[in-house]
Amino acid sequence: LSLPVALALLVSSLLIFSGFLPFDTRSLHHITSAPCQIAGPNTGGNDGLEPGQSCSFIIEGFDDILERENLNVSPSSSVAFLITDLRDVVKITVNGTFVGEASSYMFRLPSRLTTPPSMILVPALAFMPYGNMIEVTVSAGAGNSPYMGELFFGDEPRVTQIFRRLWFVEVVLPKLLLGGQLFIATMFLIIWRRQQSERAFGWLALVLILDIIRGAALIPALGFEKSGVFYSALLMPFCSTAYYFFTREITSAPKTRAVIFVWLLPALVAGVALSLPQGVAVAEIWPWGAFLISLNLFMSIFVLFRAWHQENAFEIRLLLICTCLLLGALIHDLLMASNLTPTNVGLARPSFMILLIAMIFLMIDRYTNAIDDIAEHANRLLQQKYEIENRLKIAYERIAEDQGHLILAHERTRLMRDLHDGLGGEMIAVLALAEGRHPVADDIAHHARSALTDMRLIVASLEDFGGDISLALGTWKERAEPQVLSAGLRFLWKITESSGRPDTSPTLLLNLLRILQEALSNTLRHANATQIKFSTEETEGYLVIVVEDDGDGFKENSRRGRGVSNMHARALAFSGHLEIEPSQSGTLVKVHVPFKK
């Protein structure tokens, strides 16, 4: 338990108790205490008055009181009487003149909670210098026996001050507490709704709600009758049962089904009370209610005591202490109801308030701890996430590096093969021809030019065309056109835009350009053509590059035929294919280049 919570608990307990403790009334003159209960002028015994009776008495020696209190009874000032609690009307007569009366709401409980205080102002002019006679009459309505608590007398400011404090404690504070309880009960109810496994929150909310309903009967504005107060008090056994379940939950007591029967007892008492006539019920049932509450408290104490050594020992010890305190206060109040105690101040209520506050703070503490745990957990997870990300990054970098090496190795192999396929062969031909017995300059030049052309194709295939194959073709045209023109042919270039985009990897480009170059060379060398035309078509999934000449066409198994099988192989290498057909006026080569998917 954190220090702030403990401090808050202590301070609020002190506040509550100070509110219920007897006031320092030394500044006032104490005239009498419960005069109508002790042998009054009109009664014969100690047992108080019967309903319908009234009691009146003369305050003896009032002149002495005035003198002793050193009251400045100037004509403009007032003096006042303060009555701590009363039933139902108190009248005061000074020297035979009626000067004022006080009446009270009637909502006394069997446990003798005090009623709101009353104050009667008397103008100083009503007093004579000597021989004042003050008469106090206490009377009650039908069915009520008249009662008056303590009677004080003093000058107006002092009486007012004490009166206000009493009023705050007895009238305002209960309402404030009820409001606060309602708010907190709602909060815990919401927490429980969200987190139904945390039953302790639910039980606490139930305890609070039952107590709120009971307490609401104490508020006069709600218009409860005396009987209403009694019946709402029947909720307290239920409330104590809910508390018993709360302690079971908080001590993680083993869950047994049988425990549900604990609810039967308050239900039984309430049922009996509701079935009996009102008067009988009020008289006969409340001891049973008190017994049930005590029983529940006993059981709670037992449960708490058993869990004394648990990990959350502080919570449990605090609850144990508060519960014991409440049980003691309850016994005290029961004795008080039987007139076995000297005081008239109920202790059960403030003790219960302290228990409630302890519960509330414990549960808030639990809740905030849970939130802290979650936050910590989230932080840890976040940190783990970063660590994992880091590890992944390192792993990824390693993989990328490996892949880079792999790609490099692959590219190296490819480049070697490319060089070997075209350039190498041509260079060897150049060498062979040059070193031959009768070197022919034209043949050497032809092979040297082929080698150079192939080298340019390799270089071109490695350049960046931004994925646009028409740019690659445009660059190749720059090389092809002079070859065609110098051979005296017409060069027609009708390459157009395509809707799809073929792959433009170096491998594909080199294979494609070599196919085109081969087709071009074939036309220039063997076809006796007058023109060559390059154009594009599109079929399903393919860009088709069409090379068309107006030459002789060709025969299979000729030298030209071997070049053709090479072209087919190259087209297969990029998942394309080749169609070569003699057209009416020459040869038609169609290269199918697949579009990227």
């Binding site: 270089v459 065309f465 028409s470 270039w493």
Partner: protein
């Protein structure tokens, strides 16, 4: 009878800067065979500078890598000294890096060392006539560079003195795909004469007149080799 013999034929002065004597002779022969020009050949940058000081040529055909250094600085100086002089770079492969360096040096085009003589001469005449030829590979390179620049704020190797206009980009795309100037003009719905002027404008924007530019640095430091 020689047609046009009565008209005075303009003789262009061509300076060839090439250290390989075989290539030098090959280009020299190609130019002379085509006619309409006089040729002076040098084998290194020092001689090239001397020749430039002696007499400003109409066209410089220059290799980029010479025994006494890289030609990029010499070409920049030449352009400053003689703004009207056209430059064409001689290259082995016509690869990306060579083209970049050629453009940065203010070249209007490049010829391959193994080009057919007729092609060498016709390109040179085309340049001299102000035709601003642009090859698909140059166009593609510029397009790709511009696209890279649009897509990211990366440092691009190709500096532009001013951003290219959408119409200039359209022209470049057309050329890059292998269309002739007249085909590009038809596709874009502009007159045939407009395309060369667009190309000229593009070349102007591509020239690296600033020696601290990325391409200049890259060439000087040998990051871009040719």
């Amino acid at each position: 009878m020689v047609i046009g013999a009565d008209k005075p034929v303009t003789m262009f002065r061509v300076l060839i800067v090439e250290d390989d004597p075989i290539i030098q002779q090959r280009i020299e022969r190609a130019m002379l065979a085509g006619g309409r020009c006089t040729v002076q050949s040098v084998g290194n940058l020092a001689d090239a500078r001397a020749a430039l000081r002696m007499r400003v040529p109409d066209l410089i055909l220059s290799d980029l890598c010479l025994p006494d250094g890289r030609a990029i600085e010499f070409l920049a100086d030449a352009r400053k000294l003689a703004p009207k002089t056209e430059i064409v770079v001689i290259s082995v492969l016509g690869d990306e890096e060579t083209i970049l360096a050629a453009i940065a040096s203010g070249a209007t085009g490049y010829i391959l060392k193994d080009s057919f003589p007729a092609d060498v001469h016709s390109l040179a005449m085309d340049v001299l006539a102000g035709g601003s030829p642009m090859s698909p590979s140059i166009a593609r390179l510029v397009v790709m560079q511009a696209r890279v620049h649009q897509q990211s704020q990366q440092v691009r190797p190709l500096d532009l003195l001013a951003p290219l206009t959408p119409r200039e980009m359209d022209v470049l795309w057309g050329i890059a795909k292998g269309f002739s100037y007249s085909e590009v003009a038809t596709q874009l719905g502009i007159s045939g004469n407009t395309v060369p002027s667009h190309v000229k404008a593009i070349y102007r924007k591509l020239r690296v007149d600033n020696r601290s530019s990325a391409i200049y640095e890259a060439v000087q430091q040998g990051i871009i080799k040719f």
